[in-house]
Structure formats: structure tokens, C-alpha cells
Symmetry: C2
Subunit: 348 residues, 2 copies
């Protein structure tokens, strides 16, 4: 019998009443019959909804929480109000206590990151956690980090992110030696911010458990040039959102073009199956889920505006991380790298 995987769910996070959560769990459960759910939130609310999902009722337990974090609440206020009592806090805490294997929330990202860092703590020798996203490329997928955990950065953090991202690539893409690039604004060594240039010097000086390929620019992320692309959280967040915005803009153009004439509509109908594939490739819920990396526990942030399929793919991602022993990989890789470079002595 496959070992159970226990998933802590923040039931109170997400836009529009998070009505995607239970349908999402049903999809995830069909795919992963070994999944068990711990639902954290208002008990009455959960009971009133889960009764329509009897198959989930059997494999879930309900953990009542007195408070919950609002989507627009500041991290500092959420901790003041929600420490020990909120659905986010208690769900993360169940990972800390070993009662759950992974934690998933579609709630307030800042509060989730603040609480996760406070409860789980960063892995030894890692300065600050990062959020990693999976970015679709023309030949597959690339891990991009940090996409918004940390504002402001130094060289040591870029090295940390390289270790974390490459470890995740070993887990998700099942690779021995993933390739890594640093995002910069020129491929030449002369351009860019000093912190990035210093990280480049350290990364290119040797072959580590990953293979460093140098600088890439923004237009190369989607070309799949590396398994992992590393950048600071501000830049990564702008890049990710700009790419999402561009995709949605082109999708608007596309719909306008189709609706412009009768012939275009007929043409679209004939080519429909081809366009369905295109639509699927551009579907943001296919790759939903930001992975919090660098903490002593697996926490996944689902998009707040996702759908059941999207929420279930965030769960897929978490299960994948757990089953591939991501945390052990990260710890082993840090030890490995620590022997090769003066990991603690990297100047900022």
C-alpha cells in the first residue's frame, strides 16, 4: 500500500470565496488516492460545503480556526491578529509538527511567506526563502526564482537561489545536473548590477551539482535555454506578471480577430482542435503554484484567482516535491556546495 500523503489546506484563502478548493481537492484525490486532507478554517463553513463532496469527507479532517487572514492584510497585521489562531498559521504549524507533509494556500502571499518563515525557519545556511514558479517554454518548462519573496537582494542570496532552484529542478524534472542561468540585462559580462556580476563570477568558477550557463536576458526565459533561471524577487515578480499580461493581451487580440468576420469564425471552427492545444499551452492553471523554497517544510502558494484544475495542479506540485524528497536534496546540496566554496563567506 502506498504511504499516505497528508496535505494541510488553508480553507480560507483565495478570491471569490475560494470555491475552487473542494472541486480542486476532488481532482487531486482522483489522481492521488494516497492523499489525505487536513482542512483549516471555519468549521461550520467547511461542513456546509464538504457535505456535497462525500468522497472527500471520508479522507479529510476539519480543524477549526478562529481567525483568518484577509487577502489585502499587511503581513505584520496578519501575524499580530492571526498568530496561533488563523487558518494559515495552524496549517503551516501542522507541517512544523510533522502532522502534515505539505501545506497549500491560495491566500495572502505576504502573510503566508511571513508566517511560513516564522514557523518553519530557513534551512541552515540559507539567508532568505524564495518563491519559485514553473514557467512554460517552447520546449518544456523552466524553474524561475525568486518571483517575489524578497525585495532587495545581495550576491549570497543569488547563490542561495541557485542551490534552491537547482535542487527543485532535480526533483521536478528528475535531472542529475540541472543547468542554471542568471537573468541580466545583457549577455555580455560588462553589463548589469554588481551583485549579479559577483554571483556570476562565483557560479562560473567551477562545476557544481548544477551546470552554470551564464547570463540570459528576459526574452530568453521562454526559450527554455536553462532548467533554472535565477533573479531577485522584484525583477522576477515583474517578469512573471509581464509575461502573464502579454499572454492575456495576445489572447484578447486573438479573440477580437476571430470575432471580426464570419469567415474567420468558420476558419476558427475548422482549426478548433489546433487552437485548443494552443489554448491549453497558454492556460495559466496548468502550471499554477509558487513553491516556497529554503524553509524547513513544503509550502505551496496557489494563485488566488485559480480554478479547480489550477488548485489541483498546485497540489500535484506539492506532492511531487514531497515524493522526490526535495528538502533532503536541498540539505545535501548545501553541504556539497559548502565544501566547494566558502559558502558563508560570500560577500554581499
Amino acid at each position: 500500500m502506498t504511504k499516505e500523503i497528508i496535505i494541510a489546506i488553508d480553507f480560507m484563502g483565495g478570491d471569490d470565496d475560494a470555491s475552487f478548493i473542494l472541486p480542486g481537492l476532488r481532482i487531486a484525490y482522483e489522481k492521488h488516492p494516497e492523499a489525505r486532507f487536513k482542512l483549516f478554517g471555519d468549521e461550520n463553513l467547511i461542513r456546509s460545503k464538504i457535505k456535497y463532496f462525500p468522497e472527500l469527507e471520508k479522507v479529510s479532517d476539519i480543524n477549526h480556526c478562529e481567525t483568518f487572514v484577509r487577502m489585502d492584510e499587511k503581513p505584520s497585521s496578519s501575524i499580530k491578529r492571526g498568530r496561533g489562531t488563523s487558518s494559515i498559521w495552524k496549517a503551516i504549524d501542522s507541517v512544523k509538527k510533522g502532522d502534515s507533509n505539505i501545506m497549500i494556500s491560495a491566500g495572502n502571499t505576504g502573510a503566508l511567506m511571513a508566517m511560513a518563515t516564522l514557523i518553519l525557519k530557513t534551512i541552515s545556511k540559507i539567508q532568505r526563502p524564495a518563491i519559485a514558479a514553473i514557467w512554460p517554454t517552447i520546449n518544456g518548462e523552466t524553474i524561475v526564482l525568486d518571483v517575489g519573496a524578497t525585495i532587495g537582494f545581495n550576491t549570497k542570496q543569488l547563490i542561495d537561489f541557485s542551490i534552491l532552484g537547482a535542487s527543485m529542478a532535480q526533483s521536478v524534472f528528475d535531472l542529475d545536473q540541472p543547468t542554471i542561468s542568471l537573468l541580466n540585462i545583457g549577455e555580455e559580462e560588462i553589463k548589469g548590477l554588481d551583485e549579479i556580476k559577483k554571483a556570476h563570477e562565483i557560479l562560473k568558477s567551477d562545476n557544481y551539482f548544477f551546470k552554470y550557463k551564464g547570463f540570459v536576458e528576459g526574452d530568453q526565459i521562454g526559450k527554455g535555454v536553462s532548467d533554472v533561471i535565477v533573479m531577485d524577487g522584484f525583477t522576477g515578480n515583474v517578469a512573471l506578471k509581464t509575461a502573464e499580461g502579454t499572454a492575456s493581451q495576445i489572447s484578447t487580440y486573438f479573440k477580437d480577430a476571430i470575432n471580426r468576420s464570419f469567415m474567420a469564425k468558420i476558419g476558427y471552427k475548422l482549426a478548433k482542435s489546433a487552437f485548443e492545444t494552443l489554448k491549453e499551452k497558454m492556460n495559466p492553471s496548468r502550471l499554477n503554484g509558487g513553491v516556497f523554497l529554503g524553509l524547513n517544510g513544503i509550502v505551496i502558494k496557489s494563485h488566488g484567482k485559480t480554478d479547480p484544475m489550477g488548485f489541483s495542479s498546485a497540489i500535484d506540485l506539492g506532492i511531487d516535491m514531497h515524493e522526490s524528497s526535495l528538502l533532503l536534496k536541498i540539505q545535501r546540496n548545501i553541504e556539497l556546495l559548502d565544501k566547494e566554496i566558502n559558502f558563508d563567506k560570500i560577500s554581499n
Copy 2:
């Protein structure tokens, strides 16, 4: 008779021998019969090519230059080698001397910016120049700056960029009071880098010659929420290139989808005119041209990999700037704003 507009062209800049330059000038000349061209570069080369464009020969003069800047040359080396002698230098210098109204190059951006700053100098009270791009949106166009002139930034520069961008919006979009936004990684006031938050406080404190609308995130650039969106050069360059990369990625998906089946090909043929419109909207040469803002002269950077239509639209942009008296607008707006806020005293 319309007054002549004299355009200084760096003949030696651009990828693939810059074979788009003369065909591009022909398109521009058909549209702007008042245009006159000063071509800077190797005289023999120019003569061997321009003889196939007799209509251009009549309205162009050739200015021989002994050196030219290579596409991959560092700015410092290009200045050492090309000061006073290179095609970029001499073309900018003709703007400085008043012999030309605008200067256009498809060459090395770093060298072009370094030489332009050295020769033309920044406008009084502007710390550093910016590169502005015109970004297509679902309801029109937005000016985005800085897209790569400056690495590293402070609050004063973001205010400068706001003045420069809003002045350009007055020129290009013919608006009295353009709207502007600051790019950040959260719409809330709590997030983001300190320099950006300080600029936000200054901009929101009053109504200036522009209307400040607050923060936007990367996914809103393409929604056309403001006439101008301001950001630092590193972030702007990443955002612009990521958007370009995403558009080209989706275009690859699209071609793959069409070629997958016979039915899809037939469908595409029926819907062809609709897709041509889509293709036109996504055509990067339609909005080619980075405008150097903040200098005492108009310099336009064309993409190095453009086509004749793209090169001619960079010229269009330059002519537009000149005819709408952009430089006077900028100076007047700086004076206006200087009365309203302690412009020199903004802390970094």
C-alpha cells in the same frame, strides 16, 4: 513649403550589414517629403549602395567616417576608439552643431548612449537620461521608461523619468495632462523598494502637469491603464524583453498549432485576414525605436535586427518628436515642476 527636417543616420550600425537602412529611408521619404538625410559612415560603402536609390541620392549627403563602433564593443572602448571619428559620434555631433534635427542609429546601444550623453549633455536638472519605448496595449499605446539606459536608480531619477515620459506623452499622444503610474510589485502602498515608495509619496502629493495614478504591476502594462509607466532601467529592460519573448513564444505555439493538421491549415486560410490583423498587432517593427530622453537633442535607437518598415517607423518617431517640440516641452515642464516641488532637493 514645409520646412526641411534633417536626419543624421548612422550608416554603420545594425545587424546583418544594416541592409534595412536605405529601403527604410525610402519608405520614410515617401511619407515625409520634407526629410533630408545626412549619412555617416564609410563613403565607398554608402556610394556603392545608394546608387540603387536615386530618389534618396538627391536628398542625402554623405559624410565619410574613418571608424565605426562594433555591435559588441564596450562603451568605454568605443569612445576611446571612436571619439571624433566614428559614424555614431559624428552623427550625434551634427545634432549638437545644429546641422541635423534628429539622429538615428541601429547600432550598439551602450556606445550610442555613452556618446550621446557626452556630446549632447543632459538637460539642466535631469540627473541621467532614460530610454523610452512605446508599448502596444489592448486599447492603444503606453510609453514605458527607462528600458535600459541606467543600471541602479534613486528616487530623483524616477521623478525625472516621470517628467520626461509625461512630456513625451504630450508630444506623441497629443495630450494636455497625461496619466502616469509607477511600476511596483504590489498595488498596495506597503510593498516595494524604498526608492519607489518615496517617489510615490512625491508624485501623489499634488497634481502636476501629469496626473499620477499610483502603482501598477507588470501584468497591467499591456492593459493601457496609464499613458506613461515609469520604472528603473534594469526592471524596464527585463519587462520589455520578457514581453517580446512571450509574444514570440506564443507566435511559435500558434504556427505549430496551424501546421498540425490539414483542417487547421484550411481553417487558417479562411480566417487569414483576421490573423493578418493579429500578426500586424504583434509585429515588433510597427513600434520600433527607443527614444533617448533627457538629453539636449533627439536621438532614436532602432532595433539592430529590424526591417525597412521598422527602421522607417523609428524615423517617424524622431520626426514626431521634432515636430511636436519635445525638447521645449521637457524644459518647460521641468521649470513648471521645479516651482511646485523642491526638485533639486529630492533625497535619493
